[in-house]
């Protein structure tokens, strides 16, 4: 894809982000006209006459805007995280979820909830255990004689299962009337209770990490050649991989901490992005960020508007993700061999 055409594609994607964001503010059990939404937003910065209800103001500004922005942020983090992991492990089938960071982070969050910790401590705990899980997966895969991609995915499965058991243990000892539902809802993924303060906390971690990943994205191409070739191309693969895994683990863990375990995004979105802009990380990372934001906002819109009750996000991404991924698997298998 030529440079100019890519710039146009990216511009269209970001316009898509804005359109979906606007739609997310309008949609819901309490529909608000797009014009009113824009007026509410503008009135925050420019004093204009209020022709709308205080309820509208609350719904748009206090409820839907932080929620939609968080969805966009989490989607961007999970999608770019998937693209980064796939490049690092030169395997289009891995994502942070596959390597166990999500279940690892889930365990840290569950323990924090058990202990009645604050949101900030929950996030820190999720990050720590998420990092431990990825390191464990890496060590398990390296310890075997077979260094193939299959070993890595299997190691991730093993570590993921271990942490799933630990999460189950945390659920077993949790108070069934108070803590247990909290953990269960959290694990299925939801943005229903997101507030500006949560968004702010996630933003200060995720946005700098995404910027750093975007700045370093050319190196992903080099690392996707494998360690030996990366080194002969003048790149120390160990150091750069630690940096990129660190950044990605950070964004994934913070995403999981704020929204719960939402799977499939990191697998499906980079594949869609690759189908549109190709495998070059210089284009893939920015495209994955934009498409991830769009995808997650749409999923969250469906979650809160499809039925009277909220549908957990993890259920929706699974229902959407599995068939889409199966389709991609069928269509583009030849590209991976």
């Amino acid at each position: 894809m030529k440079r100019g055409r890519f710039a146009l594609t990216l511009l269209v994607m970001w316009l898509g982000v804005l359109v979906v964001l606007l739609a997310s503010l309008c949609l819901g059990r309490y529909p608000v006209a797009p014009k009113t939404v824009l007026q509410v937003l503008v009135s925050r910065f420019v004093p204009i006459a209020r022709t709308w209800d205080a309820t509208v103001e609350t719904v748009v500004w206090q409820v839907r805007l932080p929620r939609a922005l968080t969805a966009a942020l989490v989607g961007a983090a999970l999608a770019s995280g998937g693209a980064v992991f796939q490049g690092l492990f030169h395997n289009p089938l891995v994502s942070p979820y596959v390597l166990g960071v999500s279940s690892g982070a889930g365990f840290g969050a569950a323990v924090a909830i058990l202990l009645g910790a604050s949101a900030a401590v929950t996030q820190a705990s999720a990050f720590a255990t998420g990092a431990v899980a990825v390191s464990l997966t890496w060590l398990v895969a390296r310890s075997g004689r077979d260094r193939s991609h299959v070993t890595l995915v299997l190691a991730g499965f093993v570590v993921g299962s271990l942490f799933s058991s630990l999460v189950a243990g945390a659920q077993y000892v949790a108070d069934p009337s108070t803590k247990l539902p909290q953990i269960v809802f959290w694990l299925m993924g939801s943005l229903a209770s997101v507030q500006w303060s949560d968004l702010l906390r996630a933003t200060v971690v995720i946005v700098p990490c995404l910027v750093a990943v975007t700045v370093l994205r050319w190196k992903l191409n080099i690392l996707s050649m494998g360690d030996d070739e990366a080194r002969s191309l003048g790149e120390d693969p160990g150091a750069m991989r630690v940096v990129l895994i660190g950044l990605t683990t950070m964004t994934t863990a913070v995403s999981v901490a704020i929204s719960g375990v939402i799977g499939w995004v990191g697998l499906v979105v980079p594949h869609l992005a690759r189908g549109i802009v190709g495998p070059d990380a210089r284009k893939l990372i920015p495209a994955s960020i934009a498409l991830g934001a769009i995808y997650m906002m749409i999923i969250d819109d469906v979650a809160r508007t499809l039925t009277m009750a909220e549908i957990p996000l993890g259920i929706l991404t699974g229902i959407v993700g599995a068939p889409v991924f199966a389709l991609l698997l069928r269509r583009s298998r030849s590209d991976w061999d």
Binding site: N91, D228, E229, S232, L233, G234, D236, D280
Partner: protein, 246 residues
Amino acid sequence: MTQSRPSVVDIQNLGFAYGDAEVLHDLTMAIGLLRCVERLLTPRTGTILIDGRDLKTLSARDVSRRAASVPQSHAPAFPYTVQDIVLMGRNPHLGTASQPGPHDVAVARQAMDELGIRAIALRPYTQLSGGQLQLVLLARALAQEAHVLLLDEPTAHLDFRNRHVVLSTIRDLAVRLGLTVIMTVHDPNDAMQYADRVGLVSNGGLIALGTPDEVLTADNLGRLYGMPIEVLTDGSRHVIVAEIDR
């Protein structure tokens, strides 16, 4: 195949090991040597000098600006375009946070022109034949603008025609661009036809080192392979054949 500039790469009393087993105890040109020069292995004894500098004192980045290598086999993970792949050869010249600019694209294009693969620049490299893939990886090495090329059996997976296309292309590049090329080959005929200097390596030791005429004798080759070998001569050309009773 090395050009007559022995000072570019200088190897002294090299010895190194995979794991605990000592593999080489003298100067050699085997795969292990390439790995040493690429810094994928560290010599246990002896030194390798590039441009008079000890490899041990150079970073991966410093080495990759002086010596570029072409792997024997390459397992693609993603369908990058040929141009993307060749552009990756520019990495030694790029900072941590930078991306290839117009100059790098120009160098990559020139490298593709050198190897006659410009026409397939936008094709996914996963759809190429083995011979084309070797040319792409060679172009990537050229884009590194290093003056030493390390090739580990570049013709291992190629048919007769592609083998000679690749080897004569390498020979031509070495002469035209003044490159030092160090490669391993399994068929002594390849060395006979294309190399300036040849080293024979057996069981980790160097049997002979010199010009093809000096080194690739029936006697030396017979000792190397442990079977009767005959060198047929036709004018200035030599063909090495195994003498097998049928």
